[in-house]
């Protein structure tokens, strides 16, 4: 087994070298940073699906939260907003939100006052409606004021690594709420519920212009390491500056990845990991052994989401632009699923391997398809049928098809992945 993994990783290394040879150092370093960030996200999904058997189709939402977090923390302070009435109005909206939460919470505890059954349901509905109306009555004018004046609230101007950490915290908070609502559901329902939540997060972040600038996008977002422009100012050539800057960023990402990888690998081997696998394989048996299934599942859901949040923050930090409309379920949810399934669910090495391999495949399908189409197009032109129209845009769609084919083939011929989970049995 070890030999096979080593061989696969060696092959992957050669593949990256070959692609790097063709594309040049600047492009391959870009690809490496992104694929290692995806490896972090895939590791997060591997915890949820591989360790815990939880179906999370809402990865996109957690990536968006991470992206928002790093934008908010590291973007320079918007003085126009802080000097205006905006903070006061927002504080009032926040107070209204808190009051509403308290009201709803109170209604949910109404059985202590002897209100039960239909009355309690009615009270809950009323509490929700009142809370919603109170909140909307405060937030709507605040939003109109901010968007009309300062535009948006800006950032906090702190270090981007703090932003990555905040991405994890934010993802954890949302994962807690999502998990409390949805984790009792069966697999199919959980899949739908998480898709729905990620769509809601997308709708919110895309349309809350006062918070994220929505479709206007935010850039530039700062790096924890020197930018290419800063290196150029120190007298390094333009081509080299990109390679060095990206290598610097890559080093930070690899440090984060290796640290988290070590932790989750240790957790997998320990009693905690054994308990998680027991719950995954038979939750009824695990519950009968006294394991708190719901609480443990919530725990693992949050842990996985934290890694997704951090990964999403790194991606945005590296890309330097936060554009909520650039998030698509295909490239931010299903792509990661393909990574974990192809790599091997339940095996961290597999997840990382899958992430690197699939991201490379995903990125190079486009130029390969383009070359293929240009060739075919020249044949059809020679044959008198005319060239293929819009080669550029068609070729970029090719990768969706390739992704679909890859996962179908993987499910058919290697359902446990290329580096499958090793099931240890006591002799």
């Amino acid at each position: 087994m070890m030999q096979r993994s080593a061989l696969l990783f060696a092959g992957l290394f050669l593949l990256f070298v070959a692609v790097g040879w063709v594309l040049g150092a600047a492009n391959i370093t870009l690809l490496l940073v992104q694929s290692f960030a995806y490896a972090l996200i895939a590791l997060g999904l591997n915890i949820q699906w591989g360790y815990g058997g939880l179906f999370n189709f809402g990865i996109m939402g957690f990536l968006m939260l991470g992206g928002f977090a790093v934008t908010f923390i590291s973007y320079p302070i918007n003085a126009a907003f802080w000097d205006s009435e905006g903070p006061l109005l927002l504080a009032r909206a926040l107070a209204a939100f808190a009051a509403g939460t308290l009201l709803v919470f109170g209604a949910s505890r109404a059985h202590h006052l002897g209100i039960r059954g239909g009355w309690k349901t009615a009270l809950t509905v009323v509490a929700w409606s009142v809370a919603y109306i109170v909140y909307r009555s405060q937030i709507d004018p605040a939003v109109a004021y901010i968007e009309g004046g300062a535009g948006w609230i800006g950032g906090l101007g702190l270090h981007p690594v703090l932003g990555w950490a905040f991405g994890g915290v934010l993802a954890a908070g949302v994962a807690y709420i999502v998990g409390r609502i949805c984790l009792g559901l069966r697999t199919d329902y959980l899949a739908i519920a998480t898709i729905g939540i990620s769509e809601i997060i997308r709708a919110l972040l895309k349309n809350m212009d006062w918070l994220t600038r929505g479709t206007l996008t935010v850039s530039p977002i700062s790096w924890p390491t020197p930018l290419p422009q800063e290196l150029q100012a120190q007298g390094i050539g333009i081509a080299d500056s990109f390679v060095y800057a990206r290598l610097g960023f890559l080093a930070v990402v690899i440090v984060v990845l290796v640290g988290l990888f070590f932790l989750v690998e240790r957790a997998y081997g320990g009693p905690w990991g054994r308990m998680m696998r027991a719950i995954r394989d038979n939750h009824i048996a695990a519950a009968s052994m006294g394991k708190d299934v719901t609480a443990r599942q919530l725990e693992i859901f949050i842990l996985g989401s934290v890694m997704m949040g951090i990964g999403g923050a790194i991606l945005i930090s590296f890309g330097q632009i936060y554009d909520p409309s650039s998030y698509q379920p295909i490239s931010h949810t299903f792509l990661i699923w393909v990574m974990v399934i192809v790599g091997g669910a339940g095996n961290n090495w597999g997840a990382v391997f899958g992430a690197l391999l699939i991201y490379l495949t995903w990125m190079i399908s486009d130029p390969i398809a383009q070359a293929l189409f240009t060739t075919i197009s020249s044949w059809t032109s020679d044959a008198g049928w005319g060239p293929i129209p819009e080669i550029q845009s068609r070729a970029s769609q090719m990768r969706v098809l390739v992704l679909g084919l890859v996962i179908t083939v993987a499910l058919r011929f290697a359902p446990r992945g290329l580096i499958p989970e090793v099931v240890k049995r006591e002799a």
Partner: protein, 332 residues
């Protein structure tokens, strides 16, 4: 009265149209879940595929110079549904049947359906690019305006020809499905298998045939829903990707595996969406003076851009309040 007619146009008619599309999609999902026990994610893309099949057929018919009194998209619909049913059978044979034969868990089939989603979407985009198409390039979309025979009423009740045909044909399909499930031998076999697959098999029901019939019904209804959606708005490669969520919500709200539940769920979600984004100020405006507070300009329950969230909120409420759906659904 004018305000009420506005309400009728924007809420009742749109709700009916949206509900019809959702119901047709949800029936397919719920049937597949009942028989094969997995959530078929590729259903939205089967709808898009159906829309494109109809589009190609309609273009061919128009090119042949054949004109019809109704929208061409509707004339070619039966043929398109047959093609879509054959394709659905092919998809099952190529992607799901081998996994079932291996005894894969429903979750694996669910992931496989994601693969199918990507393949269909990739193929459609490869051939059609990412632009949007319309059925009404060469022919006009006919609009009906019904005068309301009341004094002081200036507004008319408006709807388009595709909308009318859509609601009528959905009603026909629902009745036909009801008759099929309750009267025919095969329909009863389907219900039996949905209740208990093993028991159905030992009682001599041809389960393979039932599976095939399920795909035929699901595929053709998906094609119908996709075509209708394309006729009502426009045809895009990612047309149904956004709609798969409300459709699943409809199927789950109705209780997965319950055909009637899916229909009810479809209309429930459709009306909820239109009601939630309706600006209630318009209805209240005539009694503006009698109200104790100033009437804001926009009094919609949720802003239009959050329409998608409505289906989901309903889904969560139903799942918390009655986890198996309004009609008791099947479980995995």
């Amino acid at each position: 009265m004018n305000e009420l007619i506005f309400f009728f146009n924007t809420v009742v008619i749109s709700g009916l149209v949206l509900g019809s599309i959702y119901a047709l999609g949800a029936i397919g999902i719920t049937l597949i879940f009942g028989i094969l026990r997995f959530a078929h994610f590729a259903h939205g893309d089967m709808m898009t595929m159906g829309g494109f099949i109809s589009f190609l057929l309609a273009a061919a018919v128009t090119a042949a110079g054949i004109t019809a009194p109704v929208a061409t998209g509707f004339v070619v619909l039966p043929v398109a549904m047959v093609i879509a049913a054959v394709l659905a059978l092919g998809i099952d044979k190529g992607f799901y049947a081998p996994l079932r034969a291996r005894g894969a868990r429903p979750v694996t089939l669910l992931i496989a359906s994601i693969g199918v989603t990507l393949i269909i979407q990739g193929l459609i985009r490869l051939f059609f690019g990412s632009g949007s198409y319309t059925f009404f390039e060469t022919e006009a979309k006919r609009l009906f305006r019904l005068e309301v025979p009341l004094p002081d009423v200036t507004r008319t009740i408006n709807f388009t020809e595709p909308q009318l045909l859509m609601v009528v044909s959905t009603a026909l399909v629902v009745v036909a499905l009801h008759l099929f499930l309750t009267r025919s031998r095969l329909g009863k076999a389907m219900r039996a298998m949905s209740d208990n697959a093993d028991l159905a098999q030992v009682s001599g029901i041809n389960t393979k045939l039932v599976v095939r019939v399920t795909w035929i019904i699901a595929g053709s209804l998906a094609c119908m829903a996709g075509t209708m959606l394309a006729l009502d708005v426009s045809l895009k490669p990612d047309l149904a990707f956004n709609i798969v969520l409300p459709i699943f919500a409809a199927a789950i709200v109705g209780g997965l595996g319950q055909s009637y539940g899916a229909i009810a769920g479809g209309f429930l979600i459709g009306f909820a969406e239109t009601l939630a984004i309706f600006n209630w100020s318009i209805l209240l405006r005539p009694m503006r003076d009698a109200l104790p507070f100033d009437l804001p300009n926009n009094l919609a329950v949720v802003p239009t851009e959050y329409k998608l969230t409505v289906a989901f909120v309903i889904l969560v409420i139903v799942l918390l309040w009655r986890p198996t759906g309004i009609f008791r659904g099947a479980s995995t």
